[in-house]
């Protein structure tokens, strides 16, 4: 965006600004590439059963991502970094935009895949191959969960980037260096960040509504809600009790609650019933919620049917095999049994409850920080519009400290999304125990330590380089090394 201003105005100052931020982006990008490839490999190496169970759906977005997005990104990134002196200004600008589009596209496809795991749609189970097969590409792609997740994630990335730019610029202002660049950067970033954080809040709200529908257990965990109720309030801040007290219905030691807000947020109706964790574990006939043991029974029947089918097939009993196979295409069986397929893997009730404190605190940290960021952007925009930024020493001093908070907020968001759905790899169909590769613990431990050490070292290197590059500033860009 800054480059667009440069090309439009022809002011070399903007080019200098662009190049400086681009350099920092490059340092970060290297780590992004390094982590991206791990994800791809790990699906195969550590989650091989999962790779087969859902490969038919999951593979397609991944391949499309490779063909469309990665090549776009990697081709034009070369021009973006090395092309300043080689291609025309306009072509360079187009390349930078294509890198940005490519990066967002790759986010799209991986999030489509993730959304499918949270809410499997557009697929049917094929007993012959023992896997899920795609029946509608558009249902997978345009599933509301996918669309919302994509928007929520990219806007959170934009918020993070804006905070980063403001934080670094504020430091420059405090040091009275690069003042012009810093002021201009803050103006661009605070407008951009404010818009992004507003849409972040809107998509977050959409997300909550979807979770209420497709993953109600996660919602209950996010809110620490044990006994479901009508007119449920939203806990703004609270401290959870120990596990036993929580299960008995006394979830909080201290809490500040906003009445009816949870019902309203989740179902757009302040009267609506919101189910709690106990409603799921013990069942709630009044609300039509099955207890976990009931679901386990149903899931076991589904699994047994699949096993019987396979056995009949290998025994050569084709008539029996056919009749069992037909069940997987029968709506009643699908709705009453196959829907709970994943529950057939484990009898224990507590296995199906996610880690409540972790989910609860992560969710609240994310939300509180998210709204905090909105205020932060608004303040900086306000100061910047009145031209009084250089005098606001306290805020300038504070801004760099906000950067780590932005990372914490987005990680917390992923903790909610990924741990809140435990034990499911694929919601209600495939629990984590059934998704993993048969590996001994030692192997996994060694791999884990290997990665932990590598990334700790790389993280130190990255932060160190970043700090050096910032201190070095943009003044020597262009010409010398």
């Amino acid at each position: 965006m800054m480059e667009t201003i440069y090309v439009k105005t022809g002011d070399p100052e903007w080019q200098k600004i662009t190049r400086f931020w681009m350099k920092l982006f490059g340092i970060n990008f290297a780590i992004g590439v390094a982590t991206g490839i791990i994800l791809e490999f790990e699906f195969g190496t550590n989650w091989s059963n999962y790779s087969w169970f859902v490969g038919d759906i999951f593979g397609a977005p991944l391949a499309i991502e490779g063909i469309m997005a990665f090549f776009m990104e990697s081709t034009f990134i070369a021009i973006m970094f090395f092309g300043w002196n080689k291609v025309s200004k306009k072509f360079h600008l187009a390349s930078s935009w294509l890198v940005a589009i490519g990066a967002n596209l790759s986010a799209l496809w991986i999030l489509v895949a993730n959304a499918w795991m949270q809410n499997p749609t557009g697929t049917a189970f094929n007993p012959e191959t023992a896997r899920n097969e795609m029946t509608s590409f558009w249902d997978v792609l345009l599933s509301p969960v996918a669309v919302n997740k994509f928007l929520h994630t990219i806007t959170s990335g934009m918020v993070l980037a804006s905070i980063f730019v403001i934080g670094v610029s504020a430091w420059f202002l405090l040091k009275k260096r690069e003042t012009r660049m810093a002021l201009r950067s803050i103006t661009v970033a605070s407008v951009f960040g404010l818009l992004a954080s507003v849409s972040l809040a809107l998509t977050g709200d959409g997300s909550a509504k979807q979770i209420a529908e497709v993953q109600p257990m996660k919602l209950a965990a996010m809110e620490g809600l044990y006994n479901g109720k009508n007119e449920a309030g939203l806990v703004a801040v609270g401290i959870l009790n120990g596990k036993e007290k929580r299960e008995a219905g006394e979830a909080f030691a201290v809490k500040l609650e906003m009445p009816k807000l949870l019902s309203w947020l989740a179902y757009s109706d302040p009267q609506h019933f919101v189910a709690g964790i106990n409603d799921f574990t013990k069942g709630n006939a009044g609300q039509g919620i099955l207890s976990i043991p009931e679901k386990v029974e149903r899931g076991k029947i589904a699994r047994q049917t699949l096993t019987d089918f396979k056995n009949a097939q290998s025994a050569g009993n084709l008539a029996k095999a056919d009749s069992l196979k037909a069940k997987f295409y029968d709506k009643a069986f699908l709705d009453n049994n196959f829907k709970y397929f994943g529950y057939g893997f484990n009898d224990e009730v507590k296995y199906y409850v996610p880690n409540v404190p972790l989910t609860f605190y992560s969710f609240h940290i994310m939300v509180i920080l998210g709204f905090g960021f909105m205020v932060f952007f608004a303040l900086f925009l306000f100061f910047s519009a009145r031209g009084e930024l250089p005098q606001r020493k306290f805020w300038l001093w504070l801004a760099p400290w906000i950067i780590p908070l932005a990372y914490i907020a987005s990680e917390a968001g992923w903790v909610v999304a990924e741990l809140g759905r435990q034990p499911w790899t694929v919601q209600d169909l495939l629990p984590t125990v059934a998704a993993v590769t048969k590996l001994d613990t030692g192997t996994v431990m060694v791999t884990f330590i290997l990665f932990a050490v590598t990334f700790t070292v790389l993280a130190i290197a990255e932060v160190n380089i970043m700090v050096k590059a910032i201190k070095h500033g943009p003044k020597n860009e262009g010409g010398t090394k």
Partner: protein, 377 residues
């Protein structure tokens, strides 16, 4: 338009795409080869910086092709992905590791405050070049020699090999392919530098190392190819789908599919011709194009005889009937059809890559050029 095709035709179409990506990947691994030659071709700091920057503008193509090759393989033949990655665990983890350290090395190498020092990042690049090529070659070798695994009725893999995949490197056939890929990548790298870098000393040294690496390449490659013609291959009956061992299977595949044989021969001739003119002519910079396209054709023909003509492309030597074929390992017809539409974008992608590459290469890299560049590795 793809809806009318049978599932088998779609499976074949996708096997061709996977083969094509795999062979382009081997060509682009000149980056890896080059990383192992930095010390041989660059005798001082400036020369090494020139070499690193010359590779640095291409490494992402290779990396992305690897990722896309993996993604496409996953998408079109998920059972292979699940069985091989989950089974031959350590091979893939090592390959992964070799590429993680590459991903940061270019960007971090000369940056102030990089914590590990420039030498370490150069060592990372060397490790990536060495392990990346040899292990990928070895892994592809198992497409012909087989691996020890079994699948249960739910298609879940159990690996029976003692070292989770690393045992493949003990097989001389696999290892010779791995080493052939390694030396080929170095050959390609010397030719790439001869074409891309405008420095007299580097040109001369590249030419010398071209010769040095051609000899072992030919030894390992010919050993692999000739022996391949004589070993038993994993064939399956097109009606019953039952897998059995067939003597001279891969030789038969070439004879049954003359077009594939032609691709192999043209490819091999291209490689030899490219090496020949680069060595014999005085100032030849075009060798990379012949050897590069020859590489693509040769590797492609090898992938095609591994999967076509009723051959199991990922055979199990432990349990023949667990062997994977393009028919039993593929995605559903619906998914393959959907993805086929996406594949129509590939030519477009290649076109813009070519254009971007071309516009970046208008200026060759030399000392002067690097001085005007602010983004240095």
């Amino acid at each position: 338009m793809f809806e009318t095709l049978s599932h088998l035709v779609l499976q074949q179409y996708w096997w061709i795409i996977v083969s094509l990506l795999g062979s382009v990947l081997v060509f682009l691994m000149f980056v890896q080869g080059g990383q192992t030659l930095l010390g041989n071709l660059g005798k001082n700091e400036t020369e090494r910086t020139i070499l690193v920057n010359s590779l640095g503008r291409k490494w992402e193509f290779t990396f992305t092709t690897l990722v896309t090759f993996g993604g496409t393989f996953f998408a079109s033949f998920p059972l292979f992905y699940a069985s091989s990655f989950g089974g031959a665990y350590w091979v893939w983890i090592l390959i992964l590791f070799a590429f993680i350290i590459q991903a940061v090395s270019y960007e971090f190498r000369t940056k102030a405050g990089n914590f590990l020092g420039q030498k370490t990042y150069e060592a990372f690049l060397y490790i990536n070049g060495l392990l990346g090529t040899i292990l990928i070659g070895t892994a592809v070798g198992t497409f012909f020699t087989g691996s020890q695994f079994s699948l249960n009725t739910m298609n879940q893999v159990t690996w029976e090999g003692p070292a989770r995949g690393l045992e493949a490197a003990l097989n001389i056939q696999n290892l010779s392919l791995g080493l052939a890929v390694f030396f080929l990548s170095r050959i390609l790298a010397t030719l790439y530098f001869m074409n891309n870098v405008d420095e007299e000393t580097i040109f001369t040294r590249s030419k010398r190392h071209l010769l040095i690496n051609t000899v072992p390449f030919l030894v390992f490659f010919l050993f692999f190819l000739v022996r391949l013609m004589f070993i038993d291959g994993y064939a399956y009956n097109p009606e019953t789908k039952i897998v059995h061992l067939e003597p001279y299977k891969y030789l038969h595949n070439f004879l049954d599919m003359p077009l594939v044989l032609a691709i192999l021969l043209i490819g091999v001739v291209g490689v030899l011709y490219g090496i020949g003119i680069s060595l014999l002519k005085n100032k030849c910079t075009k060798g990379i194009w012949f050897v590069g396209s020859g590489t693509i054709l040769t590797v492609m023909s090898l992938f095609l005889i591994a999967g076509f003509n009723h051959t199991a492309f990922y055979p199990s030597s432990f349990d023949l009937q667990s062997s994977l074929t393009i028919e039993n390992a593929s995605s559903s017809k619906f998914t393959l059809t959907t993805m086929s539409y996406v594949s129509l974008m590939v030519p477009f992608v290649i076109a813009y890559m070519w254009y971007a590459w071309w516009s970046m290469n208008k200026k060759k890299i030399n000392r002067e050029e690097l001085k005007t560049e602010d983004h240095l590795y």
